[in-house]
């Protein structure tokens, strides 16, 4: 007899993440892919990859919950969706069962979510309709500097100084970057300034409580951002083992608890 598994699918604007949990609430499979333009196809590919990692097949899925912008586009999930805010809260509280503030930096938006000691959400904030502080901002800047996104973390670490960017606006920031290149500033120092801008935009969204957890793809691929945030708030930041999968794992836990039916 096969072992039942519980699937969480986080169809984000930039990346699709799938987590597979067993009945002991452990993540036994996962996958991440670019969401692309066909969320259904990407979700299916991600699902199969994560099931393979878990040693399971589609027939073993006892329940599935989808979340993220494309949450309604997953054909094999029927009327079981949760918001990414709910799923991040669920996934992070499972890993850190205490009062926490979650800071999630995603491709298109940022979220600051506050959880009380009993795991209840006490509030959340999303960024305004603006790319400042999001993955989209980093993508724009990497394009301006003509350096691959995955090299930015290493470059920021090599900075000897920091070129601070003054603007909120992604377009104005890009102009500032070009201006600094013209002035002969080092690319490493500019990249550090870009990272600083991301962290500043997020920390000004809300006042974090004592214990802070960071999640999201930007955090997963740019650990220097976490170090910078720790320095700015003056205390260590907690990280799940797979920060990019926190929302998908939370969705898998909702699937396990059979509580994915509240939405829409």
């Amino acid at each position: 007899m096969s072992t039942p598994v519980y699937v969480g699918l986080d169809i984000g604007a930039s990346r699709t993440k799938v987590a597979v949990a067993d009945s002991q609430r452990r993540m036994i499979g996962h996958a991440v892919r670019k969401s692309g333009t066909d969320f259904t196809v990407t979700a299916a590919a991600c699902l199969d990859e994560s099931l393979a990692m878990a040693g399971a097949s589609r027939g073993d899925i006892a329940n599935a919950v989808s979340t993220g912008y494309g949450r309604a586009n997953v054909e094999f999930v029927t009327a079981q969706t949760k918001t990414e805010i709910g799923c991040l809260a669920k996934g992070c509280y499972h890993r850190f069962p205490e009062a926490i503030t979650i800071i999630d930096i995603g491709g298109q938006d940022n979220k600051v979510i506050k959880i009380d000691a009993d795991g209840r959400r006490s509030g959340f904030k999303m960024n305004r309709k603006c790319a400042a502080g999001t993955g989209a901002f980093l993508e724009e800047m990497s394009a301006r500097l003509d350096i691959p996104l995955e090299e930015m973390d290493g470059l920021a670490r090599k900075a000897t100084e920091m070129v601070k960017l003054g603007s909120y606006c992604t377009v104005f920031s890009a102009t500032e970057v070009l201006e600094n290149i013209r002035y002969g500033k080092k690319v490493t120092d500019i990249v550090k300034g870009i990272f600083y801008s991301v962290v500043s935009r997020i920390l000004e969204m809300d006042s974090p409580t004592e214990r802070v957890v960071m999640t999201g793809g930007v955090v997963a691929h740019n650990p220097y951002i976490v170090e910078m945030a720790e320095e700015m708030i003056g205390r260590p930041i907690l990280l799940p083992e797979l920060p990019q999968l926190a929302g998908a794992f939370g969705a898998a836990l909702y699937a396990l608890d059979g509580k994915g039916e509240t939405d829409g």
């Binding site: 309604a72 999930v77 709910g86 959400r121 006490s122 509030g123 309709k129």
Partner: protein
């Protein structure tokens, strides 16, 4: 694929009657403007409409027209025309939509009412800055463009307690408008008629208050989205018997719904207070968004702003001044917070949604720490959404959806 449950708010039967009296109102205005039988005054929404009616003017409200541009989703196409002549996309999008529509020579009135070709040409423009400075700038544009006088009242802002000094000042300003208005209208002010008009306004707004307070019932028989439509007569026909007669009909229907336990949202489980302007071009979508989550937005500052308990026909000028000054938008945050706390209790509210409207700072009360203070004091959770009243370029539907869904989830999980 996840299917969305379709739940829509229940239709209010009195809507047909409202549509008729609103049509009559617009045709009457059009008749006044096109035949010259009566003079036409444009008046800001909480300007001295009672005085204008008592002097025999047909009264047009540019804010109502701008809201129609928003609700018909014409506004976003009009605003750029005003931007292009120097009116910034950051200022009131009622102003930019209305002026933009005038420049382009279009109006939702001609689409809704056959035979009406344009907004009624004004003989005088009358403002009260109790709403904001933008209303004065708005009418000033028309004044220059149409060579029509723009006169009005300058009101104080951030008032905690409305004092006799405030009332004296504004009452004198209203009285000072009389000679100019008499000259334009060609009629002497009949004080009896003014007293009667003020009394009719009082009766209208008392009925409107009762209409809104039917939503204290659980389940509530109407939604904020209904309120934004059904406040039309209270906005444009304040001071007339027609508005009073209408609200008697509406109130009877809603009271019957309360007796029948007939809620506007099926299975109402969450009761929301809306603070700020509606997003006019998204009324239907937002109504459906909340009702699909079995949440009802049952009360709001916006709809309640057309309740004027101080109108008193025995003392028309001073009571008009007091009524216009007691408006929520005129008041300090300390007053506003006390007001909202009262509403949370009265309507048994589970959560507050603050609409931070990009182009309307005066109606965006989330910018000076109010949500945090009220949440700490009352324990009622809040959500701030970014959007705009009329400029849909400032609205993100997906962000709105995620925010509202997550907020209703949060409230449900906190129970």
């Amino acid at each position: 694929m996840a299917e969305e449950k379709k739940t829509t708010r229940k239709k209010i039967q009195a809507t047909d009657l409202m549509n008729k009296i609103m049509a009559d109102y617009f045709y009457d205005l059009n008749d006044a403007a096109t035949t010259g039988k009566r003079k036409v005054a444009w008046c800001t929404s909480v300007g001295p409409a009672e005085l204008l009616r008592a002097l025999g003017f047909a009264v047009h409200f540019p804010e109502n027209h701008a809201a129609m541009l928003g609700a018909t989703r014409m506004s976003t196409d009009m605003i750029p025309a005003a931007n292009a002549i120097g009116y910034s996309p950051d200022i009131c999008s009622y102003l930019t939509a209305d002026i933009g529509a005038f420049i382009k020579g279009v109006t939702p009135l001609s689409k809704a009412y056959k035979g009406i070709e344009s907004v009624p040409k004004p003989d005088v423009l009358v403002f009260n800055t109790n709403q904001c400075r933008d209303v004065q700038d708005w009418l000033a544009w028309y004044s220059r463009r149409l060579n029509v006088p723009s006169i009005g009242v300058s009101s104080p802002k951030n008032v905690k307690d409305v004092t006799d000094a405030h009332i004296d000042d504004v009452a004198r300003q209203i009285e000072a408008l009389v000679p100019a208005l008499e000259k334009i209208s060609g009629a002497r002010l009949d004080m009896e008629r003014l007293r009667e008009t003020v009394s009719l306004s009082r009766e209208c707004t008392e009925l409107w208050k009762k209409v809104l307070e039917t939503a204290t019932a659980v389940p509530a028989p109407l939604t904020f989205f209904d309120g934004t439509i059904h406040m039309g007569p209270a906005v444009v026909m304040r001071g007339t018997q027609t508005a009073i007669d209408y609200y008697k009909v509406l109130l009877a229907e809603l009271e019957q719904r309360v007796r029948d336990g007939d809620g506007a949202v099926e299975g109402e489980s969450t009761r929301i207070y809306w603070e700020g302007m509606p997003i006019w071009g998204r009324l239907r979508q937002h109504s459906e968004l909340f009702s699909q989550l079995r949440a009802n937005v049952i009360a709001s500052t916006y709809c309640s702003s057309w309740i004027f308990p101080s109108f008193d026909g025995r003392d028309p000028f001073r009571s008009m001044a007091k009524a216009y000054l007691e408006l929520f938008i005129v008041r300090s945050d300390e007053y506003k917070e006390g007001y909202i706390k009262g509403m949370l209790e009265k309507f048994r509210i589970d959560g507050i949604v603050y609409h931070d409207a990009k182009t309307c700072p005066y109606n965006s009360n989330s910018r000076y720490g109010m949500p945090q203070r009220l949440e700490t004091e009352t324990g009622v959770p809040s959500l701030v959404i970014s959007g705009d009243l009329n400029d849909l370029r400032c609205v993100s539907d997906e962000q709105m959806k995620t925010n509202v869904e997550a907020f209703i989830e949060q409230i449900a999980e906190g129970r």
